[in-house]
Structure formats: C-alpha cells, structure tokens
C-alpha cells in the first residue's frame, strides 16, 4: 500500500542503551584504552584507503561500536585493509588500527562462544 504513495512512514529508530549489546565496545576498550580518546574528528575517515572504494568510515564505525549497534559494525568492519593511515593521522593518538583488529577479534570470539 505504502509503496503506491511514493513515500512511506519512517521506521522507528530508537537506540536503547540499556538493552544494546555493549560487549564488543567493552572488549575493545579493555584491550585498547586509547579508544576512549576519540573525539570523532573524522580525520581517519578522510584519509582511509578503503573509503576511497567503498562506503567505510572509521568515525561512523567508532560511534556504532560505542552505541552497541553490532549488526551494522559486523557488516562493514571487514572492509578495512589495516593499512594504518588512520592511525598516523589521528590527532588524539588512538590506535585505530588495533580498534578494527580487536573488533574483528571480538566478533570471532563472541560468535564462537555465543552466550
């Protein structure tokens, strides 16, 4: 029905911080404390090698991990080439490369030992 009108009601989008799965965030933060220093300036996203070819933004990824929107993260985290440019440009000294590496590791771990 809705399709016929050329527009549709916007799907409700509520992020429930109490119910979201923060395990990945905690896993990363515990092993790479510098993750907490991110100010979301987007320098990493601007220099990213992968972003040149596809939709991949480390800044967005950081926010998604913090919010615990792991399904979104899972979709894009493998696109990173780990080239390390983001780590070099980060003004806050976040070891961004390790953040991506740990996120993947966290998914592997939680997927294998699902709670």
């Amino acid at each position: 029905m809705a399709r016929n009108f050329g527009f549709a009601p916007i799907k409700g989008r509520v992020i429930d911080f109490d119910r979201n799965d923060k395990r990945v965030f905690e896993y990363v933060l515990e092993r790479e404390p510098s993750f907490a220093l991110c100010i979301g300036c987007g320098g990493c996203a601007a220099t990213c090698s992968a972003a040149n070819f596809t939709e991949f933004s480390l800044r967005k990824l950081n926010i998604l991990i913090r919010r615990g929107e792991n399904d979104e993260v899972r979709k894009i985290v493998d696109r990173c080439m780990l080239c390390g440019k983001c780590t070099l440009v980060c003004p806050r000294g976040v070891n961004t490369r390790n953040v991506v590496f740990l996120t993947r590791e966290a998914f592997e771990e939680f997927d294998n030992y699902a709670i």
């Binding site: 510098s34 070819f53 493998d78 780990l82 440019k85 070099l88 440009v89 980060c90 592997e108």
Partner: protein, 636 residues
C-alpha cells in the same frame, strides 16, 4: 675401589639424558616434511656435516658471535661450554691412560680423583693433573662471572638479563653447584692424600690443615654427583635443552632446512635452541627506549616453549629484525613470530605428555573458518593505462607524505621517462599490513587485485616508494615485471646517465628503513645515490645495525606515546653529528620522524626529495633555444 653408591644419581641422570636426546632427535627428524628429511640425509653425507661440526665448535663451544657482541659475556659462555667440554674429554682420556684398565664407564672418568685419590704426584700424571686443574679454574672463573651477572647484570655490560622461572632456577642452582662441589670434593681428597696440582692440591692442603679432610670429602662427592644428576634430569624441561637443540639446529640450517610458514619440527627445534642468553633484550628498542620489557624474543620463545598464551606478545613487536640479526644461535625470530600471528591463539588442547618432556604438536594449520570471507568484494578491477613501461606505485603511506610523489614525478620528468602513476587516486593497499597482522587470506585478495592491474598495464618495471610495499611485491606477488624501490631506480637512472644531478654540498645521514635494509637487504643503492649528490656521513647505526623508527605497521598493540619515545631516541642518536638532512627511503619512517623534536638545522628528507632538489634545471636560454630550434624545424 671399583664402585661407590654416590655415583648412582649421576649415572641415572647421564643415561636418562642420552636416551632422551636420542629419542627427541628421532622425533624431530620423523616430524619433518619429506623434502626436509631428504635435505638432511643428503647433508649428513656431504659438506653440510663438516660445516656443522666446525660451526658447533665455533658457536656452540667457543661462542664466537657472543664474543663479538660482548667479550665478557663471550668469555663467560666460552669458559663454561668449552671448559666443560675439555674437562669431559680430557677427563676421559686421563681415566683411560692412568686408570686401572682402558674403556672405563663414564663415572670412572668424572669421579676419577675419588677412585684414584693418590694419583698424579709425579711425572706425566702430574703435568696432566696441572692441565685438569687449569681447566677447572677456567670454568670457575666463568661461573664467577655468571653469578655476578645474575645479580648485577650491568657489570658485564648487559642492561637486562632474562627472568627465570622455578625449574630454571633449580637447574641453574644445580649447574652452579657442579663445579664448586667438584673443586671442594677433589680438594678434600687431595688434601687427605697429599696429591693434586696447583688448585686442588694447594686448596686441599690448606683445608686439611684445620678440617678432617677425608671425612669431609665424601659428602662433597655426593653433592657433585647429585647436582650433575639433577641437572641432567631437569635439562629437557629447562633452557639448558638448548645445548642438544642447538647442535641439531646448526646441522639443520647447514643442510638447508628453514622454518617455513607453519609450526613444525624445525620451529620446535628453534624454540628449544634458545638459551635465553638475553642478547635480544639489549638490542630491542621497545625495551631500551619504550620500557616495554615483557615481549622480547627471549620471552616470546620461552612462552612458546611453555605453551603459554603469547598471542599478544607476538603482536606487540615492531618486526624490525634487530633481534634476528643479533641472535647468536641464529634462530629465525621474525618468521617464528609471523607463524604465531598467522596461527592466532594456540589451540587449547595441544597436549603435553609427561608434563612437558615430550609434546605432541598439532602439525596442521588450524582452519579458523575464515575461508568463505571475501572482505574486499567491493574492489573493482583498477583502471590502467597501457603504454608506459614504467609503473609507479606510491603506496598508502606515501600518500601521507605528498612530498615524495611530487619529487618522484619531477625525477621521472627530468629523466624523460614515460610513466604511469598507478595509484594517483588512492591506492589499494599492497597487503603487507594484513600479512603482518597474520591475515594472509585477506591479504591475498588485495594482492590479486593489484597484480591484476599490474599485469594488465603491460609495464616492464614497477617502481614503488614504500619499502613495505616493496617487500611484499618481492615476496608474495610473483610478478613477471621487475620490481624496484625508488632508491634503486634513481640509482639506475644515475648510472645510465639519464638523470643529471648537481652536487648539493649538504651533509646527510642515512637511516636504513627496516623493511628495505634488514627486510630486503638493500643497503648499497640508497647510499650510492646519496654519495653522488651529497656528503654522506656515518651514524653509529649503519646497515644491519640500523635502528627502527618505531612507527612500524607490524606492531598492532603499541601505544602512540611509546612510539614517540622510541623515535625521539632514534632521531637524537642519528642527528648527533648535526647533519643538514636526515635522509630515509621510507614514507613511514619520514612520517614517524616528524613526531620527534628535531634539532635546529637538521631536516628530515626522503631520498627522492633530496634527489629532486639536485636535479640540474636547464638555464632559461637553453630552453628558449630548444623551443626556437623546434619552431624552425616546424617552419621548415
């Protein structure tokens, strides 16, 4: 006296260790791949065997390489190893010549003095006794240094010494007890019978003066036998397993067996051949500059030996290769770490039977279920320009130091080379960072994408500005085009006289990037280029001994602040002579050097940038003349 019960501990230990080493050797050989078995079989009947004997003598006994690094440390190792070897050899000969009969059991030679207490008072036997005492004195002097080193490591010039665990400490104590107890046992016996030479004889006489020497001797003979027995029984579980393993490793290496890229017999031998001598601790910049002291090669190998979880240790390393160069045993430490990075966390069910005396290693690569992942599906075939024979690949890091591609473009144009800038709109990563993180499968996808573009372009030469890319181009791409680092390419342009350069009259210190120097063995070309255009000076760390800038992509775990600590030390060290330029050939080194405080007057430059500055620009009249002649030709 034919036999005495005190020799029993020694005998048990000795026969145990002989059987154990033989069994271990057989297991190691059995687990080798077929090709390596053939290599070793061929080696056994050929030159490698003779070379190995020589190397075992030079490295295993004399410790030549340790002598080169540190004479005091070398003397310590030499006196213990070579001295003990001589003591056993000459002791056996002594027992054979002067004993009651020939071909005695080993205990007769080791405890010769006990069974022949009044031996060696005159003639040849006396001189021989002098020799034996001399060797014992040699060992004891080494032992003294070892004890001093354990408590005050600074005295022998070591900044740090390897930390030990409980069993190591027991074995170390028993090793330390062996020689003093021998000295005291022999001295008491000699004192009681009035025999012995300058050491045992005089000490014996002195002790016999106020002690009941004959009664005192017996417990020390027991102690001597017990410490030998304990040492032999514990040997397989401690770092002293390096003694038989190193011999096996030397023969393996001379036969052409290498560690490869997965766990196997060769890796196991190498792990056991580490003596925890601690030389790697002193060359590791993480320990000397950044105060990270638990990840060095000695600890990594020790962790592997104990089957601890060393995955984080494996990742926390710059992979600069300084420890590989320094290791006196020649363990392939870099490849060993790479194997572990690839394997990930070790499977927990790796079995240790007999609590570590023999272990069954899982020989196969774990299937971690990643084979289906195609992470880089978004990569489309790269657009290529057909025609130019030279392809320039800047690499990701070079895009962060735009001065380098600009300089390269200037160089290409000055030399009149038709080239294509392959990744001018941003590169697909070469794959080396993924490889270094142990993600070989994913790296393979990037390699495929880049190789495809290189092949389709039809270029003959691939020039890259980044040593990281260069290394993987050489190792894993299997391209049929010539791959050159820009320093090699510029050197060739100069040699072929395509590039005309001015002499800059600036003083330059060259820093060898790890991946280009130790990683790929390219030392001379960048130096030749720099000598051509500048006054190239020498730093205290040249070629194999070059420092790492600290920014290496290989280390995933290092804190950014620690990198600043490392690079500050490196820059300070390299700019001691106040050079005009601190030159490097790696964009990542250049970028990392930027973090340090640089002394006024020194500037960080890539080799390409210095060359670009030296390019002879033709005077405007000449260009004018050229244009005119061209116009005249057209008008004609």
């Amino acid at each position: 006296m034919p036999f005495n019960p005190f020799v029993i501990p020694f005998n048990i230990g000795l026969y145990f260790i002989i059987l154990y080493v033989v069994a271990r050797g057989v297991v190691w050989f059995r687990d080798l791949p077929r090709t390596d078995k053939l290599r070793m079989q061929r080696g056994f009947f050929g030159r490698p065997f003779i070379l190995s004997i020589k190397e075992i003598f030079m490295e295993g006994l004399i410790h030549r390489k340790i002598f080169k690094v540190n004479p005091v440390l070398g003397y310590m190792h030499m006196s213990l190893a070579f001295g003990w070897f001589l003591l056993i050899l000459l002791g056996t000969i002594e027992a054979d010549i002067f004993g009651e009969k020939h071909l005695n059991p080993p205990y007769k030679a080791i405890f010769f003095r006990f069974f022949n207490p009044d031996h060696g008072t005159a003639g040849l036997a006396k001189h021989y006794g002098f020799l034996m005492d001399l060797i014992l004195a040699l060992i004891l002097s080494g032992l003294l240094i070892a004890i001093i080193k354990r408590f005050w490591s600074g005295i022998v010039g070591m900044k740090r010494t390897a930390n030990l665990k409980f069993l190591d400490k027991v074995a170390l104590t028993s090793l330390w007890l062996i020689f003093p107890s021998r000295l005291l046992a022999e001295s008491f016996t000699c004192g009681a019978y009035g025999s012995g030479s300058f050491l045992t004889g005089s000490l014996g006489t002195a002790l016999a003066g106020f002690l009941p020497a004959e009664i005192m001797a017996y417990p020390f003979w027991w102690l001597y036998s017990l410490s030998l027995g304990t040492f032999f029984i514990l040997l397989p579980r401690t770092r002293y397993m390096h003694i038989p393993s190193e011999m096996f490793l030397i023969f393996m290496r001379n036969s052409g067996v290498r560690i490869g890229d997965q766990y196997g017999s060769c890796a196991d031998v190498q792990i056991h051949a580490c003596s925890s001598c601690g030389i790697c601790l002193n060359v590791c910049q993480l320990s000397t500059s950044a105060d990270i002291t638990n990840i060095q090669a000695a600890y990594f190998v020790k962790g592997l030996k104990r089957e601890d979880d060393v995955f984080d240790i494996a990742l926390n390393c710059l992979m600069c290769g300084r420890c590989d160069e320094a290791c006196p045993v020649g363990i392939e430490l870099g490849p060993l770490r790479m194997i572990h990075r690839r394997a990930g966390d070790p499977p927990k069910d790796t079995m240790s039977i007999w609590s570590g005396y023999l272990r069954l290693r899982n020989q196969n690569i774990q299937d971690n279920g990643e084979s289906h992942i195609t992470a880089f599906q978004y990569l489309k075939p790269q657009p290529v320009k057909k025609g130019p024979e030279v392809l320039y690949f800047a690499g990701c890091m070079t895009h962060l130091t735009p001065g380098i591609p600009i300089a390269m473009r200037k160089i290409f144009e000055a030399a009149g080379i038709d080239f294509d800038f392959m990744d001018k709109d941003g590169s697909v990563c070469c794959g080396r960072p993924l490889t270094l993180a142990g993600k070989d499968r994913e790296a393979r996808e990037l390699i495929r994408n880049n190789s495809d573009a290189i092949w389709r372009s039809g270029a003959k030469t691939l020039v890259t500005s980044c040593p990281i890319c260069y290394k993987i181009f050489m190792e894993s791409y299997h391209l049929d085009v010539e791959v050159l680092h820009h320093s090699q390419y510029i050197n060739r342009l100069i040699e072929e006289e395509k590039l005309k350069l001015n002499f800059l009259n600036k003083s330059v210190i060259y820093h060898d990037p790890c991946e280009l120097g130790r990683g790929s063995g390219i030392y001379s070309e960048p130096r030749r280029v720099l000598i051509h255009i500048s006054r190239l000076g020498k730093s205290n760390h040249e070629k194999e001994d070059a420092l790492c800038c600290g920014g290496s992509l290989a280390n995933l775990k290092i804190d950014r602040r620690k990198i600043t600590d490392i690079v500050s030390d490196v820059v300070e060290e390299l700019t001691l002579s106040n050079p005009d330029y601190l030159a490097t050939a790696c964009p990542l080194c250049k970028k990392t050097f930027g973090k340090a405080d640089i002394k006024a007057g020194s500037e960080i430059k890539d080799i390409a940038e210095i060359v670009a500055m030296a390019i002879v620009s033709e005077p405007p009249e000449a260009i004018e003349l050229k244009k005119r002649t061209k116009l005249e030709k057209v008008s004609l």
